[in-house]
Point group: C2
Chain length 213, copies 2
Amino acid sequence: MDDTQPKEEAAHRSTERGDERRQSLVLAAYQIIAKKGFEGLRVREVAARIGVNIATLHYYFNSKEDLIRGVVEYLLHQFITVEAPLPAEGVQNALQKLHQSFADLQYQLQVAPEMFVVLTELHLRSQRDPAIQSMLTALNDGWQMHIEEIYREGLQQQLFRPDVDPHRAASWLIALIKGLSLQVVSNLEHFDFNLIATEFIAGFLNPPTKGEL
Amino acid sequence: MDDTQPKEEAAHRSTERGDERRQSLVLAAYQIIAKKGFEGLRVREVAARIGVNIATLHYYFNSKEDLIRGVVEYLLHQFITVEAPLPAEGVQNALQKLHQSFADLQYQLQVAPEMFVVLTELHLRSQRDPAIQSMLTALNDGWQMHIEEIYREGLQQQLFRPDVDPHRAASWLIALIKGLSLQVVSNLEHFDFNLIATEFIAGFLNPPTKGEL
DNA sequence: TATATTTTCAATCAAGTGCTTGAGTGAAAG
DNA sequence: CTTTCACTCAAGCACTTGATTGAAAATATA
């Protein structure tokens, strides 16, 4: 039996053509959510954007919630893919890794700002939807651990002040990134991420680097 | 003439009873948005919560959008009231003011977390609604200036490193606060604001205080 | 080929959705 | 007593929403 989850998304077998349809529907929904929020998501519009009938959508997704689940999975996959260990071009030390993390995020924020919009939508939804809550938690924890690990590495390499707490430092960084992306996405302010990365990381450096900023 | 704005909210004269009704409707809408987001806001429910007919609601607010405008005004007023200069119990230096700002926010986050939920909802809406966009911008700028001023003060008092840029420091603090509140509101993490305030502020202190953390 | 399965569609439904209509209410002003 | 006023409501209008149906078309399988 392949009932890995009690709630299966749809009662159709996996075919190449079908999987493509599914994916394109999810993508369409994702784009609509990015543009109009969950508030503005209509299954009719999702179907129309692909050029299929509503019933076709309901053939692939039993319900609107199912479709949304697909969107969440798609987003998380996107995010994780980006967050994944960089195509190692030589060994990097902790500092370089931190810089790289900032650079990745800046790139994503430029190239796919909708990702952060939808992510924020999910943040709000997570209050009411335990399923989204747990998925967000998982994403968050993964991110947190990734950053924490870098800080631990940096501590071992004695790059940071010995009193730096990896957990707290990582929490900060994540909160800061979320806040910044919120500001950017809302067009309230634009930031120079290189500068931010440099300054933020410098705040934890081992020898208090005077005048290096 | 008192046509300060072209779009008046409703065609009714201001009476004590009427203003109360208006306010209670706005409050009800605010609570529903906090609980279910804009996605879950129904004018019928707003009216029902107060125990009046839908038509009564539409007597006070020409449209749902009008009602939402009222909510935004209410929220901003709340926020500004909180952000307002503290009941000065003696003169405070810049450091104390920064700590106080953190304390205020922590208090609000505990006492009225919905405020931050709705604020985040507005952040997302601001992409599509220029009116909200400008209101948020105004709020943000006011906040930013307030913090910047504190930093400038602290620089003058030589409390901070001379290379600290007030604008950037304030931007950070605001972004950090927004990120933290997002985390807290989503139940992803809980923070010790006193600790955060201390560490964050310490990062900009003038004599790099070793071992003070 | 014939048979079964998968995919698509037009048409439809019940339950909402924001908003309006027209008829009132009691209190104050004339 | 009549008129005016701010205010309230039951009823319902026009439209939208997520979801379903039954029958075709497309595709695969025997």
